[in-house]
């Protein structure tokens, strides 16, 4: 499997407080829709629920629930942004 079937995951701001880490490498055997993957993250960290309030980026691009996360990707999870 390419890249050892792993993804790099980054957590930011409030989300990082709930996961207790800002970065981890996790297995991902096959391409998975972002929405489905996010739900599995919320299953691991129930205090992040609901998944529908979380935002996700794949390789530094905002992603849709239907976008596929592939092995080797950089995935980031965060709340709606509040810059400016």
């Amino acid at each position: 499997m390419e890249n050892g079937a792993l993804i790099e995951v980054l957590y930011f701001a409030r989300v990082a407080e709930h996961t207790g880490t800002r970065h981890e490498t996790v297995p991902l055997a096959t391409p998975t829709p972002a929405g489905e993957w996010l739900q599995s993250l919320v299953d691991r960290f129930p205090s992040l629920a609901p998944a529908s309030h979380l935002k996700l980026a794949i390789n530094q691009q905002h992603a849709l629930a239907s976008d596929l996360i592939r092995p080797g990707d950089e995935v980031a999870v965060f709340d709606p942004v509040t810059g400016g």
Binding site: A13, L56, Q60, L64, G83, G84
Partner: protein, 168 residues
């Protein structure tokens, strides 16, 4: 077109001059927006503000927005500077400058850029109150609506498919 994310304070007058120099002889108008740190919890005394960001994606996202602005309006140059790290109340937090031949394009592009930045660029504000309590500032619904008014899809929503119209 320049984008800078920095922890150091900036001087808005210097940044406006920089944009003026870069477009000297061509620009007939320079419009800039200066965002200031305000109190996000008016009912409780604030001490400071911390700005977290996603390095790399921030710059990339703002550059994409500047590129969109260039395609939509007849503008010559843009300069966006955003602070991160520890800030205090009343400090400038963001500078968005646009130079164009005629003022209409600069006004519109500048407003578009700050509206879009607020809902697309990955920054998060955490406020610390005088009593030491901290909280993450929530995105304002009106900011999301403003971005939608510019024809930018809200982040993560796919208008082309009802089934996919769920946030990721």
């Amino acid at each position: 077109m320049a984008v800078r994310i920095q922890s150091e304070p900036f001087d808005a007058t210097q940044l406006a001059l920089e944009l003026q120099d870069r477009t000297a002889g061509q620009a007939g108008a320079i419009v800039h927006f200066l965002g200031m740190v305000r109190d996000y919890s008016p009912d409780q005394a604030s001490r400071s503000l911390h700005l977290e960001h996603y390095p790399g994606m921030c710059e990339r996202e703002i550059r994409q927005l500047c590129e969109q602005a260039r395609q939509r309006w007849d503008i010559l140059d843009t300069l966006v500077v955003h602070r991160v790290g520890e800030l205090t109340l009343r400090e400038p937090i963001v500078f968005v400058g646009v130079a164009s031949r005629h003022r209409d394009a600069a006004f519109r592009a500048c407003e578009f850029l700050i509206d879009a930045l607020k809902t697309r660029a990955p920054f998060w504000k955490r406020e610390t109150l005088e009593n030491g309590q901290t909280f993450w500032v929530s995105q304002r619904q009106s900011d999301a609506e403003k971005t939608a008014q510019w024809g930018l899809k809200p982040v993560h929503h796919d208008a082309s498919s009802k089934e996919n119209n769920e946030p990721a």
